[in-house]
Assembly symmetry: C2
Homo-oligomer: 166 residues x 2
Amino acid sequence: MKNQNHANKKVTENVQKISEYDILKLDNQLCFSLYVCSKEIIRKYKPLLDPYGLTYTGYIILLALWEKDDITVKDLGRKLYLDSGTLTPMLKKLEALDFIKRTRGSKDERTVYIKLTKKGYEFKEEAKHIPEKMVCSLELDPKHGKEMLVSLHKMMDTFSSTELGE
Amino acid sequence: MKNQNHANKKVTENVQKISEYDILKLDNQLCFSLYVCSKEIIRKYKPLLDPYGLTYTGYIILLALWEKDDITVKDLGRKLYLDSGTLTPMLKKLEALDFIKRTRGSKDERTVYIKLTKKGYEFKEEAKHIPEKMVCSLELDPKHGKEMLVSLHKMMDTFSSTELGE
DNA sequence: TTAAATTAAATTGTAAACAATATAAATATT
DNA sequence: AATATTTATATTGTTTACAATTTAATTTAA
């Protein structure tokens, strides 16, 4: 008990005075660390994707298509949180690289369907090794990684319900 | 026991077959959710920062300066994970808005020191309300938020040690 | 059935970010 | 001291991303 008291006192001494401005400190800002981590991880992807002529954005488009092929630009945008202003040029590039094919819907001429080509489909086999390499280079504790995923997905749910709502 | 067996069987039926490709699913990719969350949160900052002529990047530069004023471009870049290609034009803009002042070091003419102006310093008072509003709009469980911060900072440490190392 | 409103994708213009390079100052080497 | 190397910032060119607008097709309302 005595000991505990003593310990507490020590802590109190060392503890920094909590200011009303603490909320403005970079280290306390979730968005800043999300922003830095995503940028830096995407930078780490670069050397792994470069050999295939892919950028991170091209890569996540393929990830989406491997889960569900033959999807409209709109649905792709909903899945990836990207709009046509970003997707249209990106998809043209992926088509030029022969990963995908874009075709106007016959029933509704406004929609454009995105389909994987043979090359695009088969690239999945090669791509399996990309996340493996990334996990290594991040030296991330898998348990914390999973917890983070859960929290981030909760957050993402609030985004889609407010803005891109259905 | 019998019951449990039965339950297990049911679960096994419902459970999706785990494939070697699961690692490629968007929902399992940490980077993708970091990327989406940071983008979407930054989007939420926009209406809060617009009235002051600030972008998110300008805002985090001010956050850094409120913690430590009179800092070189290099140190600012280290803190914010940004390079001079991004910072130089950004800092010129902040100077034009009279938030900061840029002055060449007298001892070492290569360095540029960034100092808050009166307006820049006083804006801190106003800015206090920005993160408060953000936290609300994110409806984030504070406990999960803190856990996430810890994990993200661990990750950030690995970035700086490898690339920008000192 | 025509006019108005909505929708999907494309386009245009702009800002952020980075890679690569340039410039100029400081430091190290010979 | 003169040259080479390193360092800090600036510049240039390119890509990603988004907001805002346009175009064309579809749906709704009159």
